[in-house]
């Protein structure tokens, strides 16, 4: 039986009624985000499985298709995202130590870097659109129909297997971009409330939890970049 009792932290506006104290509320929020990230791993896992299967089935077609991705833009985007993870970590840290100005600046920087990533991704997508590399009939009127010569298609490699690569590329990076868009939205909500002064060293769980999400989305890209852009890059084509 409990001998000692802690005071209910009544009065703190952020404490929800069904939690005993802010500590319990923080634990629940953090664990909730970790569990959610597990579901995200399983969600992306289905696509990673498809990638692995078809990469091993059609290695040459995948290498040729991969060669046609813009490695410079991909590398810049990787740097942008890694830097945004740093600014996100700074946002969490400055919230924990109660530096509001630094917190707001870090959040703004993270949002800008996230938008920069999406902008560069849009440029890449547009290039693929111009080269008729959008798979299937996803875009009505512009079916998958690249110039076989420009793709450096070698003997025995089928264009439909190149299309498989591009479908997996668009499915994975598209799903990743959707998560980035949601992340930027969440960060904007955070920014709104942190300008209003809602987060403090006592109550910073939302910043932390959305930080976890942001790092997760970055890590997905850290896997996507080598798998899609780098692997087998110089074996086919050329």
């Amino acid at each position: 039986m409990a001998e000692s009792y802690v005071e209910h932290e009544v009065g703190h506006p952020a404490l929800q009624h069904h939690f005993a104290n802010l500590e319990q509320q923080r634990e629940a929020g953090t664990l909730g985000m970790w569990v959610f990230l597990v579901t995200e791993i399983m969600f992306f896992g289905g696509m990673f499985l498809a990638y692995t299967l078809y990469r091993s089935k059609y290695p040459e077609a995948f290498a040729i298709a991969s060669n046609h991705l813009d490695i410079k833009l991909g590398a810049i985007n990787t740097a942008v995202l890694i830097f945004s993870s740093f600014t996100m970590a700074m946002a969490v840290y400055s919230t924990q130590i109660g530096k509001r100005r630094a917190q707001i600046i870090s959040l703004v920087a993270t949002i800008i870097l996230g938008l920069a990533f999406l902008g560069i991704k849009a440029v890449e997508y547009y290039q693929k659109y111009e080269d008729h590399l959008i798979p299937g009939s996803l875009i009505p009127g512009n079916p998958f129909n690249p110039d076989p010569h420009a793709m450096h298609l070698t003997q025995g490699v089928l264009m439909q297997h190149v299309q498989m690569f591009y479908w997996i590329y668009f499915a994975m990076t598209g799903m990743h971009a959707l998560h980035m868009i949601i992340g930027v939205g969440l960060l904007s909500v955070l920014l709104y409330f942190s300008v209003k002064g809602r987060y403090s060293p006592e109550y910073h769980n939302p910043v932390e939890v959305i930080g976890l999400y942001w790092h997760f989305v970055d890590i997905v890209w850290i896997f996507l970049f080598p798998l899609l852009y780098l692997l087998g890059r110089h074996t086919g084509g050329h």
Partner: protein, 552 residues
């Protein structure tokens, strides 16, 4: 007999605390959300039931007189989709689990009440989209959506139905997430992991399956939809895709989904067997860990659905072995329940009748599962009524018996009223008889070679189908009776005391129906689960809820 006295009931409870439609549709109270789910899943159960009756009526005669093949294909598909995704998967977790998980661990609510309400809205949205698919023209792929039929050849509303299931999946994910976080962080002081009721352990294991499996079916269905709309070809062999990849991804979720249905039911049965024998459960930790073992093994057996799909024979052998292995934790449960009954002071109340029915039917369902896990026998019975009978013994004989048993057992707590016991026992027996008459003949018909999913069949199978249809009619009446008397009892039933069964569990130590915050004070747990001990030792210690005791 020992007495466990709940506090004197006050007039304010979660049902009458607020009035009006808005107070229900915007509620964050897990108990009210449980009731929203209860109403919704009952609605879907009856839609699925209507399709079941159409199937049984058509199969009364060997020729197709009531339905033709195209309609029949849609009817059995829609029966499967509605029953699996909109009734069985949410059945116990979203209703009884939602209601009881916080109460059994001594919490005021689930960790994320708003996400809990959101999950109900997502469920309803998924349901509406699916019903749209049914009304617009239906879907005929079978609930399994096998490619390339679903992606290329079917002329039915595959995308709309798939979208409904995709949306619905998120409600399942959010429920599982909420349970895991709640069980980890919201237990009352003194409520250690090994004092948790087994209902909680089984819901924890179920939640693990929900969060790990459901995202995979989500992405799979999304890929099917894109393939169908944009002709992309990831599952299309004509352009280098692999239709068996779909089967792997589909069953990676859909086999564990069976454990989403059966594990909560096992949790209910553990409660019922221990409490209606008035004994501590035999081998508590074995029953608790067998739930986790089933959840883990459940993810390693999906390949037994692919024995005849061109899967490598070595993979088949491994999956066969692992499928046998999953029978071990299931058998541990059955043996422990049986040992709990031994020398117990057993009372045959309605919930106990369902629990005993569960043990028998689940055993038959599980044993016939071993036939199907055997490579050679599976080839003989694949796609026959043997399989249909097997999984209905698990899903209906297991999951629904547990659900109905639990619903009766906690009905006094949920509604504050007693159900009519005579009618309760009568309908439990009727459902047991009707169920066996419906599905046992299907084992025989299937073993003799009657294939599933056909609207017409050779005349020598008619006798089994007549028996089956007769049983289904009894089963339908059996389901209708509780639907009527439970609704009736909400107004006219005898007023239930806080602890009608005289049991030690936390949920019985508060008034019926409970107040919005479940307990008048934060309980401090000083007793083990199912501890049938004198009252002075199990008295609830605690103070009023502005003074919350620290965790011990």
């Amino acid at each position: 007999m020992e007495e466990f006295t709940p506090p004197v009931p006050s007039k304010i409870n979660y049902i009458n605390a607020q009035y009006g439609l808005k107070s229900w549709l915007l509620t964050k109270d897990h108990k009210r959300i449980a009731l929203l789910y209860l109403g919704s899943i009952t609605f879907f159960f009856f839609i699925g039931g209507i399709y079941a009756m159409l199937i049984r009526l058509e199969l009364l005669t060997p020729q197709g007189d009531l339905l033709q093949s195209t309609t029949y294909n849609k009817v059995f598909t829609q029966h499967g989709i509605i029953m699996v995704f909109f009734f069985l998967i949410p059945s116990i977790p979203a209703t009884l689990g939602n209601f009881l998980v916080p109460m059994m661990i001594g919490a005021k609510d689930l960790a994320f009440p708003r996400i809990n309400l959101l999950s109900w809205y997502i469920y309803m949205l998924g349901g509406i989209v699916t019903i749209y698919a049914l009304l617009a023209g239906g879907v005929d792929t079978g609930w399994t959506f096998y490619t390339p039929f679903s992606t290329t050849f079917s002329n039915s509303y595959v995308v709309a139905a798939g979208l409904g299931i995709f949306i619905n999946g998120f409600s399942s994910i959010l429920t599982g997430l909420n349970f895991i976080v709640t069980i980890h962080t919201m237990r009352a002081p003194g409520m250690t992991w090994f004092r948790l009721p087994l209902f909680i352990w089984s819901h924890y294991a179920t939640s693990l399956v929900m969060i790990l499996g459901t995202p995979v079916i989500a992405i799979t269905i999304l890929l099917v939809a894109f393939e169908r709309v944009a002709r992309i070809g990831i599952f299309d062999p004509a352009v280098g895709g692999d239709p068996v990849l779909f089967q792997h991804l589909f069953w990676f979720y859909s086999h564990p989904a069976v454990y989403i249905m059966i594990l909560p039911s096992m949790g209910v049965v553990s409660e019922l067997i221990a409490n209606f024998s008035r004994k501590n459960i035999f081998g508590y930790s074995f029953v608790a860990f067998s739930s986790l073992a089933i959840a883990v093994f459940g993810f390693l057996v999906w390949g037994h659905h692919l024995f005849v799909s061109g899967q490598s024979i070595y993979a088949g052998m491994i999956f066969s072995f692992l499928s046998f292995a999953v029978a071990v934790p299931s058998a541990i449960k059955v043996f422990n329940w049986t040992a709990t009954l031994y020398k117990g002071s057993i009372s045959f109340d309605t919930p106990m009748l369902y629990a005993l029915g569960f043990i028998g039917l689940f055993t038959i369902g599980g044993m016939t599962g071993l036939f199907l896990a055997t490579l050679g026998i599976d080839v003989h019975v694949t796609d026959t009524y043997f399989i249909v009978a097997h999984f209905h013994y698990i899903m209906v004989g297991g999951a629904i018996f547990g659900y109905l048993g639990g619903l009766h057992y906690w009905w006094p707590k949920i509604s504050g009223r007693m159900y009519p016991d005579g009618w309760g026992r009568f309908s439990a027996l009727l459902i047991f008889a009707g169920f066996n008459l419906t599905f046992f003949p299907q084992f025989v018909a299937g073993y003799l070679g009657m294939p599933r999913r056909y609207h017409a069949y050779p005349p020598e199978f008619q006798v089994f189908n007549v028996l089956s249809t007769a049983g289904a009619s009894i089963l339908a009446v059996g389901y209708l009776i509780p639907a009527v008397y439970l609704v009736w009892s909400m107004r006219y039933g005898k007023v239930a005391p806080g602890n009608p069964w005289n049991l030690p569990g936390l949920e019985w130590r508060t008034q019926s129906p409970p107040p919005t915050e479940n307990f008048d004070y934060t309980p401090v747990v000083t007793w083990e689960a199912y501890e049938f001990a004198p009252p002075e030792e199990t008295e609830v210690v605690g103070r009023f809820h502005d003074e919350v005791p620290e965790k011990v």
